[in-house]
């Protein structure tokens, strides 16, 4: 599952992401538009719902955080 999420994000971003802790928004790999598009694509693909509390958190857009949030959402 985790690998599937990572591959999905890497395909969307169009790059291999080496550092899983790095915030894609802060590093300029994603801009604000792409970040929200990614959220919506992830919601559709993995049938979960991100809350405002999730993606407004500073540093949310790292692979680790996104994977963790999706896994948490799947369990609920």
């Amino acid at each position: 599952m985790n690998q599937e999420i990572i591959e999905f994000i890497e395909n969307t971003v169009g790059n291999k992401i080496e550092n899983q802790e790095m915030d894609l928004l802060d590093q300029g790999i994603l801009d604000s538009l792409e970040a929200i598009s990614l959220i919506v694509s992830l919601e559709k693909k993995f049938t979960i719902k991100f809350s405002f509390a999730d993606y407004s958190k500073p540093g949310f857009f790292s692979l680790t955080n996104i994977v963790e949030t999706i896994n948490k959402g799947k369990k609920q």
């Binding site: 604000s32 538009l33 929200i36 809350s51 405002f52 509390a53 407004s56």
Partner: protein, 406 residues
């Protein structure tokens, strides 16, 4: 003279900063922590009442609003509560802006509180983040301090409650306090330099300060130069006050967020807003752009193109950023020019991206230089509307534009 240099302000800062330093230095007990929070709160209320002329009646209304929001905002509250509270806050915001605009036009109104826009932004942030469960730690005294914190009251930077809580509630080590004080003093000196030297020096040459007769007889390039100086004057003034806020905050042991990061070196308007009034940009991104863009993407069903949705969301966000300053034709045009500029930059970037030449384009140094110059000039053009805050100035601006159309 700069108001910060008047004797009463210096006396006020001495009366606040010296006890605050003593408390920070001996801050080992929870009593000392409460003493510091109380000292900052009393100083803020004193500053608002005696220096910003916020009456007791206004302070009571704002305090009442803050108290009701603090005790009613929590996770799990119904959406109707959130929507109603937001509507009330937006109405207060619009009302205060209408009054401010008419005050500028020579009328005086009873309800005209300086810094009200920033208070509303903080209320909205607290309300939404509480409802979403983002705010975990709550303290009434820290919340009231967050709303009325005097160094950032008039012109920001805008704190996130979570960061302010962290800053005020954490006991810092002595070496950290010492380095904060040093950096605070440095920032105050830098801020004073921007305000006293650079801002004062550029003020006489700023566009509208030159007078209609001079401007109407100036060449195109002369007018461009004065518009740029006007923008620089605004920048150094605003950045100077931000430096003072950051410096005073640091001496109080509170790291105030940065508001500017070399905005005049960026290559386009989209980037510009990551470097100019950063805390307002972040607020707009979190509470206007993200929800609106996400909502459009969710309801779209591929009827509208992604380009259109993105442009619309960017336009709305930056238009609101422009009219945040007031209600009036000039602020409307300021918002319109900012928003149009950002959308054009976005569409141009997409055009290059689709042709797979964006990376090459971005790497060309002469283009970067031209892009930076264009960004500065376009923003200076937008600032002309911002500065045209009287009917006479707006008329003068239209007269100049008309002379080019003829």
């Amino acid at each position: 003279m700069l108001f910060y240099l008047q004797a009463k302000y210096i006396a006020f800062y001495a009366a606040v900063l010296v006890p605050s330093l003593i408390i920070q230095y001996f801050n080992t007990a929870s009593f000392a922590q409460k003493a510091k929070e109380s000292l900052i709160l009393l100083s803020s209320l004193f500053f608002l009442h005696f220096f910003l002329a916020v009456s007791f009646a206004h302070l009571s209304i704002l305090m009442g609003l803050a108290i009701s929001l603090f005790f009613t905002s929590k996770k799990g509250r119904s959406k109707i509560y959130l929507i109603l509270s937001l509507v009330v806050l937006v109405l207060i915001f619009l009302f205060s802006k209408t009054i401010k605009t008419s005050s500028l036009q020579g009328h005086h109104h009873f309800f005209n509180v300086l810094g009200i826009s920033y208070i509303i932004l903080k209320f909205v942030h607290y309300l939404i983040d509480s409802k979403a469960g983002v705010i975990k730690e709550k303290s009434f005294l820290i919340f009231i301090n967050f709303i009325f914190f005097f160094p950032t009251f008039i012109a920001g930077p805008i704190f996130r409650y979570q960061d302010f809580y962290e800053e005020l509630s954490t006991t810092k080590k002595k070496d950290e306090i010492f380095s904060l004080i040093i950096s605070g003093v440095k920032r105050i000196i830098i801020g004073m330099f921007k305000l006293i030297v650079v801002s004062k020096f550029t003020a006489p040459f700023a566009f509208f300060n030159l007078g209609p007769a001079f401007l109407l007889h100036s060449s195109f390039w002369g007018q461009v130069l004065y518009a740029n100086i006007g923008m620089l004057n605004l920048y150094f003034n605003f950045a100077g006050y931000s430096d003072l806020a950051i410096g005073i905050g640091a001496i109080l042991g509170i790291k105030v967020p940065e508001n500017f990061n070399y905005p005049l070196l960026v290559r386009n308007l989209q980037d510009f807003w990551k470097h100019w009034h950063i805390t307002l940009s972040n607020w707009m991104k979190n509470y206007i752009f993200f929800p609106f863009y996400k909502w459009l993407l969710e309801i779209n069903n591929q009827k509208l193109s992604l380009n259109f949705i993105s442009s619309l969301s960017l336009f709305l966000t930056f238009f609101l950023m422009g009219i945040f300053n007031g209600i009036g034709i000039n602020y409307f045009l300021h918002g319109l020019s900012l928003a149009s500029g950002v959308v054009v930059v976005f569409l141009w970037g997409n055009f290059l991206k689709k042709r797979n030449i964006l990376k090459k384009y971005l790497a060309i140094k002469p283009i970067k230089l031209i892009a930076t110059i264009m960004t500065i000039n376009y923003f200076s053009f937008c600032v002309l509307f911002f500065d045209a805050n009287t009917p006479e100035k707006l008329q003068l601006l239209f007269k100049i534009f008309k002379s080019y159309a003829e």
